[in-house]
Structures are given as C-alpha cells and as structure tokens.
Amino acid sequence: MGIRRTLLGSAVALAGMAGVAGYAMAAEVTVVCGSVGQGAKLCKGAATEWAKETGNTVKFFAAPASSTEQLALYQQILSSGSSDIDVFQIDVIWPGILGSHLIDLKPYSNGAEDMHFQPIVANNTYKGKLVAMPWYTDAGLLFYRKDLLEKHGEKAPETWGDLTASAKKIQDAERAAGNSKMWGFVYQAKAYEGLTCDALEWVDSFGGGDVVNADGDITINNEKAVKALKLAASWTGSIAPAGVLSYQEEDARGVFQSGNAVFMRNWPYAWSLGQADDSPIKGKIGVMALPKGGEEGKQTGTLGGWQLAVSKYSKAPEAAASLVMHLTSKKSQKQRAIEGSYNPTIADLYTDADVLAASPFMGQLKDTFTNAVARPSRATGSNYNKVSNAFYNAVHDVLSGKTEAEASLAKLEKNLKRIKRKGW
C-alpha cells in the first residue's frame, strides 16, 4: 500500500513537471514528411536541425506511400479533431478539401510566401487564409534512355506519335537482340489519382482542355480528348506492358530503372534516384518535357507538388508553424533541390548555380513548370475527388479496352453532370 502510494505520488509529480515544462520551454511537434526514400531522409534531417536550434522535440509520423491512402487517413484524423499530428504534408489538390481543418499561416510567415511562385500560393489560399506553405513543386516529365535512342538512331520525340514509333522500334530491336523484358514506354495507369495526372497531360497536349475549366464547365467530352485517349489505349500491351494498368509511380520507376524501358513518364524525383550510384542506368538518362499532342498540340505537364500545413487541433501551433517555415525556407529547399532533385517553389533558386549543377534539367525545364496544367481542383472544390475518380475510371476503361473512347467520355460527361448537380 505504502509503495503504491509513493509510486502514485511520484507519477503525479512527474506528470505535473512534464506539463509545466511543456508550456514553459519546449514543445513536441509531430510531423509527416514523406515515408520513403530520399524525401523522408532530407525532411527528417531538416526537421531535426530545427529541433536542435529551437530546443523543441520533433516526432515523425510515417504516412502511407499512396497519396489516396494518405488523404483518407488525414481526413479521419482531422475530422475527429485529433491532435496526434501537428504538421501535415498535403498534395496540391487538397487545400480545398482539408482547408477547414488547417490554421492560417500568415501570422507566422513574415511575408515569406512572397518569395514563392504566386500561383501555388494562390492555390494554397482557402477562404482568404494561407492554409499551407509551398514545399516543392512538380510537373510530369518524360525520362528516356539516351544510350538506347542513340544506339538505334532515334531522336528525342516531339509528339506522342513520334514517341510511339521510336518506342516500338527500339523495343522490337532490343527484344530481337535478346533483351526479352524490354518495353517501350511505362507510365502510371492504375485507376487512381496518378492516372488523372497522366491522362490530363495526354488530353491537354492535344488541346483537349482540363476536364472542368476554370468557370466550372464540363469540357472533357471533345474530339481532341477522344484522339488523345485513343492513342494512349493503343499503347496497352504493345509498347507498354499490360500490367501498366496497375502501375503507380514506383512500379514504373522499377521497370525503367532496372533498364527494362525506353521511355518513362514520371515526376522529377525519379531523376536523382536514377542517377544514384547503385542505379544500373546511371548516366544514361535524358529528361525532357512531355511530347506535344500533334503538330498543333503543345508541351505540357500536370502540376503536382506538396505543401506543409498545420492542424487546427495542434497543441503547439506556434512551434508547428515555425517548423513549417523552417522546412519551406530557401535553405531547406535548396538542399532538397540539390540532394533529392525536388523542384523548389522559390523562383530565385532556379538560377542558383549549385542547384543547376546538380539537376541541369531544372533550368531547361523551367518553362514546363510554368506552363504546367493544373488539375481542376480549384474549380471543383471539395468535389474534386469525385471528379478525379470519375475521370480516371473512364480513362482506365478506355486503356484496358473495356469501352471505346467516345462512349467512355460521353458517359463521363453525364457522370460529371450528376456530381455537379448541387454545384461544385
């Protein structure tokens, strides 16, 4: 009895001390900053550095690798008002979906957002509040095997038609030479958000618009979009493995980086991994903007990118916001650009000599990042996920040969009208 009382007493005292210490000195901040690979390593490094400087402690939360799963998890955590996670990494399409659960970062930013690309800052502004700070930006790029193109006398493709022809030629020649696992082109065609990005690029490059335009009109059912999807459907099983229908980013990178594909559509992060010392295709990779839809088409890329946001339910919002400012600072973004080929959201860094030395394509492709096509997440607001789901399922049906492009897009238009019923 005596022992138990003593134990209880000391526990109460300890809890009290911890509480006092928590308020008076250091806060503990839980942050989600990537769960795999280089991105997570860099983020952890920078966050630990912040913790050392400020005397706070930082805890890392490993989020699921798939962004769809991440959003589902965050929604559950946030809608229950939980304070488990203070700092979230959020996708460029989420500010409209999660905005009501996030704090306004303006009081903590000291105007830092002015350095960043303004379209992204506008994207992160929800009902007049700056709910997230831009962290890195992304656009879809075409990666190719310089050595293979050279060997078979092919040029980097200008249009998707050129790509189809080159891919077929090189694939057949390589297979005849004994490399039976060689494929022409790999991309993301699983029925998930990634396919929305890929398909939007095909459609936009043909001039078929962006599914739902800025005014909220449904524009996807048009001839140019049909043309784009027909071409993409012809790839399945011919220059792309049939399994591409279940590929996400890492599946595509797996095939490309093991040397079994000529072309790959992916995000810039694939550059530094492909150039790593243990990569079988180190030094053999070329990067360029995605091909045009045709002679009248244009080069484009879907705008991606991640932001950092602070939960409204955080018990240490000030410390959390300070961590966000540290991670999105020029210094951190420069380091990420050099070591992980993550594209900064700070315009100045695109002319920084160190950055360009590490990732030469960043300077060349600055236009791609500025011309990138945005997914219709601003026009459709919290309905975006439904729109995207309807879109990628319609595209997936076409790619797998289940329906013809015309029929699928007509059905998609009808579905989108249903979703729009109550307004976006």
């Binding site: 009501s100 699983k190 029925a191 998930y192 279940s246 599946d251």
Partner: protein, 321 residues
C-alpha cells in the same frame, strides 16, 4: 396437526420454488445485462447512427453542419433526372460484383472443402500434420495474404507469371489484378485459397460425427461407395454444410480487405463495402456513404434470412425422409 404441518410444508416449498426461479431469473438478467449493454454499445449504436446518417447530408469537411434530408441519398429527382444510391450505376455494379464473387467463391470453397474433408477423414499416416498444415492459409490475416498474393500475381516480378511462363502455359506476363477480365477471377482464386480450409474444417467436424455402423451395414450389403456418399453421407452432413455456407456467405457479402488490397477501388471488382468506403472516405460523403452502408446491411440481412429459411426447410425435409 399432521395435515396442517404437511400443508404448511408444501406451502413453504412452493414459496421457496418460486423464490428460487425468480432468483434464477434475476441472476440470468444480471449475467445477460453486461453483454446486452456491450452489444448495444458496439453493434446497436453504430448501426443506428449509420442508418440515421444515411438520412442526412453529413460531410467530412464539417460533420457538425449536417442536416436531415430524408430519402434524398437513396432516391431524389432533380431537373427531371433521378439521383441517389438506388439509381447509381456504380452501386448496382458493386452489388452485382459482390453477388457474383459470393456465389462463385462460396460455391468453390464448399466443393473443395468437402473434397479435402473427405480426404482428411480417411485414415493415413501423418494425418494430424496434414490437418494442421491445411489450416495455415486460414490462419494468416487476410490483409497479409492479400498483399502476399498481390506480389505473387504482379505482372513484372510476380512468381505466378514466372512459373506459368516457365512451363509455357502463357507466352507473356499476365497482369492478373489489373486486367478487368482476370481481376475478379484473381480475387476469387485468392479467396478460395484462403477460406477453403474453414469449409474443410467444418465439414470434417460433421464427417467425424457420423456413426460407423451405417457404413458397416452398407459394406456388408455391398452398396457402391458413390451411392453411399450421395444417399447417406451427404444428407447427414448437409445441416453442417448449410451452416458453413451461411457463415461464409455473410463473410463474402461484406468482403472488403481482400478486394481493396488486390485491386483498390477499381470498378471491375468493386464490392458493396468498397463502394461505401469510397463514398465515406475518398469522397467525404458521410451521409451518402451511410445510405450505401445501410443498403448493404439490408441486403445481407435479407439474404441471410432467405438462406436460413430455405436451408432450414430443406434440412427438415431431409430429417423426415
């Protein structure tokens, strides 16, 4: 005096007995109450809340702002067009997928379970070991086995394609879980692999209860073993099989994890649960998703009742024959 005493005694006994039975009744309630409270809390309340949410326009963006909207989530007319779960082609696609999956996989599991049970019922060396080994697929958590099969079925580095290519059955890798024409079969195959042991176990238990003298008599009379199986064994174990089929059907109708892990939210394999989850979580439509979940509950309740009634009637006939 004696009479009075006797009367007295019997009266006391009567009082005592009713005291005893009411005490028993009280004790029964006392023991049952915690369970009933627990059931109401963990099963009743969520169910009622789901049904209630199905009548609201609740949304994950702000759950506190939900309003009662009646049957609008189920069926509503707007500008001459019908809306709601009941007219959503994807929902009916999910219902069809679920029924197709349930009928085929439970059917195959029952058949294979019976065959395995008959084998395990025979006397042979190492029978105990084989019985334990057969249970392994069932003991692995679904989420783990689904992921495992997902890797094995992968078109580029999956072992299944490697084997089939090696023996020359296919000429190029098949994307089992991605191709709409094979995705459902892949899911059914994994489910059959996983739950056949369960069916085999229940069937084996029924087989072990059968009296040996019937078979003795059949053998003496020289009756064909196949005839014995269909005329004696099968009718006798049918009640047990029906129970097993009901158990499995309930499981199959609310299938979620297996399909979600293998093919995520693809429409070619989407089950009712996957549909409800997509509405609830991906689309944040708590109201609409709850309406779908309520329909799922009704469909399962209906089918269970039908199976129990139909199965019960038949086994009753069997007993009489």
């Amino acid at each position: 005096m004696t009479l009075a005493l006797q009367q007295d005694g019997s009266a006391t006994r009567k009082v005592k007995r009713s005291n005893l039975s009411s005490a028993r009744l009280r004790a029964a309630w006392l023991f049952l109450t915690p369970m009933m409270i627990a059931l109401a809390a963990v099963a009743g309340w969520p169910l009622l809340r789901t049904i209630w949410l199905g009548f609201t326009d609740a949304n994950l963006i702000d759950l506190s702002e939900s309003q009662f909207i009646g049957f609008e989530n189920y069926l509503a007319f707007y500008d001459g067009e019908a809306y709601g779960v009941l007219v959503d082609a994807e929902w009916w696609n999910a219902v069809w997928n679920t029924l197709w999956f349930s009928v085929i996989s439970v059917g195959l599991e029952t058949l294979f379970g019976l065959i395995i049970a008959l084998i395990l019922n025979a006397e042979f060396k190492g029978r105990g070991l084989v019985r334990a080994a057969v249970l392994i697929p069932w003991a692995i958590p679904t989420i783990v086995s689904a992921k495992m099969w997902g890797w094995m079925l992968h078109d580029q580095f999956g072992v299944i394609n490697e084997i089939l290519l090696g023996v020359g059955i296919i000429s190029e890798p098949v994307a089992w879980t991605a191709d709409p024409s094979t995705a459902m079969w892949a899911v059914i195959m994994v489910d059959v692999w996983k739950t056949t042991p369960f069916m085999a176990l229940l069937t084996l238990a029924a087989l072990q209860m059968l009296p040996g003298d019937i078979y003795e008599a059949a053998r003496v009379d020289g009756i064909n073993p196949i005839r014995v199986f269909f005329k004696v064994t099968l009718p006798l174990i049918r009640p047990a099989i029906i129970v097993a089929v009901i158990f499995r059907s309930l499981d199959a109708l609310r299938v979620f994890d297996l399909i979600y892990v293998l093919t995520s939210s693809s429409t070619s394999t989407m089950s009712m649960s996957v549909y409800a989850r997509q509405q609830l979580v991906d689309f944040q439509e708590v109201g609409y998703g709850s309406a779908a979940a309520t329909l799922l509950f009704i469909v399962i309740a209906l089918l269970t009742t039908i199976t129990v009634v139909a199965g019960g009637l038949k086994s009753g006939e069997g007993d009489q024959a």
